[in-house]
């Protein structure tokens, strides 16, 4: 039986879907969080927000920022290039 979502670090606000997660699926909370519901389909190996993330706030994976939210992201939303962008490195 496959795990659902893998979270690499307690500071992370996104987790990795270990298999495809269906809209409305209940996700087991980790690191002291309550269970929550997937708001949309999240493909296998894609990211799902495990906490609410405000606009411009860092998206955290591995305990480090991988970029910032380009708009408010709700817990249970799919997180990818439509709502996450890299910090400008110039």
């Amino acid at each position: 039986m496959k795990k659902q979502v893998l979270i690499m670090d307690p500071k992370d606000n996104v987790g990795i879907a270990v298999r495809e997660i269906g809209q409305g699926e209940r996700i087991q909370g980790e690191n002291g969080r309550e269970d929550f519901v997937a708001l949309e389909t999240v493909l296998c190996s894609h990211k799902i927000a495990v906490a609410d993330i405000a606009e411009k706030e860092p998206v955290i994976r591995y305990g480090e920022a991988i970029g910032y939210a380009t708009r408010r992201i709700r817990q249970g939303e799919w997180v990818h290039i439509h709502n996450l962008d890299a910090y400008d490195m110039m």
Partner: protein, 386 residues
């Protein structure tokens, strides 16, 4: 737990986990002769490449890399095949290898033609393999091992399963007094803060920042201002969103040890512990640098799958997901995707990785070795050909 392994002692103090006679071409014009020699002699392997002439900025680096390949601990002795007029100073490369105490036979094709060179080369290789065959494995400390770490054809699970598993292996080997080498500088962009904090001292920290900034500038030059989003389409389909995310996953395979040194591409280090080798992200060039700087074994994480190995260094392929492990059974050695299953822990996988490293060190063939391995290697090159 084992603290030793059985390996081949070398005159320079290194310990091999294989015992090859390497037939190395100094220039691409000599490749066929090198291949024909190696084909005829059991225990000899050809090391061929596309360079050796026509590129000035890389020349010194390429000379160092060719000598480094000859001096890899897995190599007993070398037949060096030169054309005669190439840019690579063949006799100097031969001298660099002889300094390690290894026997080197130098052939020049222009002195008597291909057939004669092949014939002489076969005789030389037979002499060397006969000597090599007399050498027996002896007990050696695990601290004699240098592990190279590579990732290629990554997917979003590379940074979740395979890279952390390789990182744990690196930390374990370093705990035994050994060395692990992290490279692919391009993939470290965005992680200097993390890596800098792990530097042994200020000099190493500065050097990390320098090589990563160089790689960053190079990326901007090649890809323009969208460099921060520049990851392969396959990566993006797999759910990876930014280069920082990819880099953080990549850095995971370096474990959590202190960084003791930063060296140039193919340059040996005199330090144990976690070493960064400056180098490109292109797998084939990266493996060559790791082999030239002295890695006896390479663990290679992949999510999309690759058959790539290296002629003189066993490459252990770690699949980031079980579907890949099942799809490419003749190429994958370890299934790191197991940790995605309920009840399978990184600890279980870590034990399997250690056992795999020890077995490979003592002669168990990897999948890429079973596949017969290519003789062709890529040298890092970045200038225009003249």
């Amino acid at each position: 737990m084992k603290t030793t392994f059985m390996g081949y002692p070398r005159p320079d103090g290194g310990v091999g986990i294989r015992n090859y006679v390497a037939v190395i071409s100094t220039v691409s014009c000599a490749n066929l002769v090198a291949e024909r020699i190696a084909r005829e002699v059991e225990g000899a392997v050809a090391v061929c490449h596309g360079h050796g002439c026509g590129r000035r900025p890389e020349r010194e680096m390429h000379n160092r890399v060719l000598a480094g390949l000859g001096n890899n601990p897995n190599v007993y002795g070398v037949v060096l095949v030169s054309l005669g007029c190439e840019g690579t100073p063949a006799s100097r490369v031969a001298e660099e290898i002889r300094k390690s105490g290894r026997p080197v036979e130098l052939l020049t094709i222009q002195e008597g033609g291909s057939s004669q060179a092949v014939e002489k080369g076969i005789q030389a290789a037979r002499r060397l393999t006969a000597q090599a065959g007399l050498l027996e494995r002896i007990e050696a400390p695990l601290s004699a091992l240098t592990l190279g770490m590579e990732c290629g054809g990554s997917d979003a699970f590379s940074g979740v399963t395979a890279n952390p598993a390789i990182g744990d292996l690196a930390d374990w080997l370093i705990g035994q007094g050994g060395t692990a080498v992290l490279t692919e500088t391009t993939e470290l962009i965005g992680t200097t803060g993390i890596l800098g904090r792990r530097a042994k001292n200020e000099a190493v920290r500065k050097r990390i920042l320098e090589v990563v900034e160089d790689a960053h500038q190079n990326t901007l030059l090649c890809l323009g201002e969208n460099a921060a989003r520049a990851i392969a389409p396959g990566n993006m389909d797999g759910g990876m969103s930014t280069i920082q995310e990819k880099a953080l996953g990549c850095v995971r395979k370096g474990g959590s040890s202190t960084i003791t040194d930063v060296v140039d591409y193919g340059q040996p280090s005199d330090q144990k512990g976690l070493v960064i080798m400056d180098g490109p992200g292109y797998d084939a060039e990266s493996l060559t640098g790791l082999a030239a700087m002295g890695c006896q074994i390479i663990f290679f994480s992949t999510g999309r799958g690759t058959p790539l190995g290296f002629p003189i260094v066993p490459v252990v392929k770690v699949a980031s997901n079980s579907a890949l492990y099942r799809r490419m059974p003749s190429d994958m050695d370890v299934d790191a995707g197991q940790v995605l299953e309920d009840g399978r822990s990184f600890r279980d996988l870590g034990e399997e990785m250690v056992q795999r490293l020890l077995a490979t060190a003592e002669g168990a063939p990897t999948k890429s070795e079973e596949n017969g391995q290519t003789s062709y290697v890529c040298l890092w090159s970045y200038s225009k050909s003249i």
